[in-house]
Symmetry: C2
Subunit: 444 residues, 2 copies
Amino acid sequence: MRPKPLSGFPEFLPAGRIVEQAVLDSLRQTFELHGFASIETRAVETMDALTRKGEITKEVYVVRRLHAAEGETGDDLGLHFDLTVPFARYVLENAGHLAFPFRRYQVQKVWRGERPQEGRYREFVQADIDVVGENTLAGHHDVEVALVMLEALETLHTRFGVPPVVMHVNNRKLAEGFYRGLGVEDHMAVLQRVDKLDKIGPDAVAALLVDELGLSAEAAAKCLELATICTPDTSFVERVRALGVQHELLDEGLAALAEVVEAAEAAVPGRLVADLKIARGLDYYTGTVYETEMAGFESLGSICSGGRYDALATDGKRTWPGVGISVGVTRILAPLIAKGELVASRSVPTCVLVAVDAEETRGTALATAAALRARGIPTEVAPKADKFGKQIRYADRRGIPFVWFGGAEGDSVKDIRSGEQVPADAATWTPPAGDLRPSVGRQA
Amino acid sequence: MRPKPLSGFPEFLPAGRIVEQAVLDSLRQTFELHGFASIETRAVETMDALTRKGEITKEVYVVRRLHAAEGETGDDLGLHFDLTVPFARYVLENAGHLAFPFRRYQVQKVWRGERPQEGRYREFVQADIDVVGENTLAGHHDVEVALVMLEALETLHTRFGVPPVVMHVNNRKLAEGFYRGLGVEDHMAVLQRVDKLDKIGPDAVAALLVDELGLSAEAAAKCLELATICTPDTSFVERVRALGVQHELLDEGLAALAEVVEAAEAAVPGRLVADLKIARGLDYYTGTVYETEMAGFESLGSICSGGRYDALATDGKRTWPGVGISVGVTRILAPLIAKGELVASRSVPTCVLVAVDAEETRGTALATAAALRARGIPTEVAPKADKFGKQIRYADRRGIPFVWFGGAEGDSVKDIRSGEQVPADAATWTPPAGDLRPSVGRQA
């Protein structure tokens, strides 16, 4: 009779949820410190909006009323599979009410009908930041979103022990300019094949470039050399220059990428590299692209990705360019929580359990609890006037650190971890700051 | 080309979202102060779980993969229409890992395929608290969940000016015992007809009771009298007694309801009444039932409802009784925000905009912003080195209260509401506490 979990739809026990809440609160705090405004969009979009990009169509979950009325087209809504499509629609729908550049963050569940596997879920939480402009958007926002996201992830690392990350950044103009500088017309065709580097290896990619696209062996070799360049500083510029290719777009891409790398070196040293093989899909992004690996969890794939769009949205007359990054909160947390590596100090918010002597004196216990809560101390009253040993076990099972006892000889509070019990007054007693709320940290 | 809103799927502009976030934060704070632990369940349940209760079947949204594989049953998942069904399933699924009585809150979107109208949405946020026990659950939790929810709603009232509420409470045992005491076997049949009181009036209900159920005119009159009893204190007990009906179950219901009313009178005077016509559906609840009206918004219907279940969940061997209340966050907020009655002081979290002299000195502005953020002050840097007047307009359009200017003669900060500009140091300057974050309040 016990229901089974649904594969691909992770749920947390209460202690795991405390970890998730702490992480979400921390992300929100960083985003808001940088002036990003929260929005939330509906879970459904029209199928038209969801399938416009074509490629992802088959992962969509269609939503329809069980008893759709006669003649009602039932299949025109689907669950969103990311937060970018809904955001683009929100911008178009509300453009008249938004101030541009518009900086938003959005933390919501998304759904994909993919086959579940490690790091892939059918329902998962994403946290996105984007800056979108009306008709134009300055390049410094490409630097900004990378730094804000790295600061958010670095805070998760220092605050909770979430593993550190490295963000890999590239610029689509750089590769395009390079290929064009080599005399290639169809730069997307080259990109497509170079993108297979990790899967099929350099020799096979070179063969494809020569056989299918007619590149010279020398040009193919240069394309491959470009893809191997990965530097933690701006030295990639010189290494690209050394390949001797010239193009205006290449210069533009190099300068934009150098700006991101330079800023990150100063702000979050060691957390960002220029990685010239990063492509991020084929026709989505138009400038900077980001991908991020978490140390020790490289097999999960990128935990945080994004890039620049020349046209995040358009109404035919106006165009809204944007740049943004999305972090896969569930992708990071589900394995860490499941393996017990990221834990909460207790499974409830409660700091104090007020013991109950006898059901007749429950009112006294309730008054004590109210006095503690009035000063912001999360407090429960024992559900039953059991023997004190049993009431202490109630606290212990949940990780509640303090049990409060009232009595004729005055109140006292017991730290059930140390066993120490001291006289206390509910109007003034304060727990150590570290015990007020559950703490979240890495379990070695 | 501008997309149209989907009827029944409300979305907020950024300032409205700030209101919603403030309200959700406040609810969470109250629930956690009382030791309720957060859980979040997946958006989908099996259709089997969703349709077990029968009556609500046609409101369910079915979810299936657009390209479900051959032979894959595509129609076996649906979006949850409340948080009680998922919670019951979660309790069954995880019973071995939970400590009972288990106190949880849950704040999530739910979906119903109903025809949208005022106060009715197809997607909306609910916030639920429940206490669930293993095999038994003490009656004082019926008092507790009412008081916690009233404290949460009262905090929204005093903190943000959300209209005050009145919770109407009844006990299903009271009515059942009363009808049985009148010699009626089929008490549900009576309840069903009395439940139509508001729609068809007392004369028509009396006629139904006499004609369809064979009650004497006197018995029918007593049933109607019972339903008119509504008192802010325990005087309802005497008024019921005066009707001269005797039954054990009636005594039990009267005592349980009196306990709730008495506790509420002391804790949140004026916010709870015993209202003996409240039924809350026909076969769901088994004891205390709650319904809540918001002053001035009675036409929305109940904004906060719930009750006691003898068997929230069961696995055949064990049973988990529960008591809980659910507040319709969207039902409260959507009209208040749409009418401009509940507003945020700005549309962004940003407290300070750092102006940029020239693109070459953007680095200085970024350093100033970092210094302010390091002390918890939400700060943005102007996106463009426009004329200062234009940068001030950028702040003004978003409601950002302060603009920071750097310069050779030292830094200064301007309150753009008063126009006052004073010298300031980014390492020490602090905004008034009321300006640090957007404030939320009632607009008369």
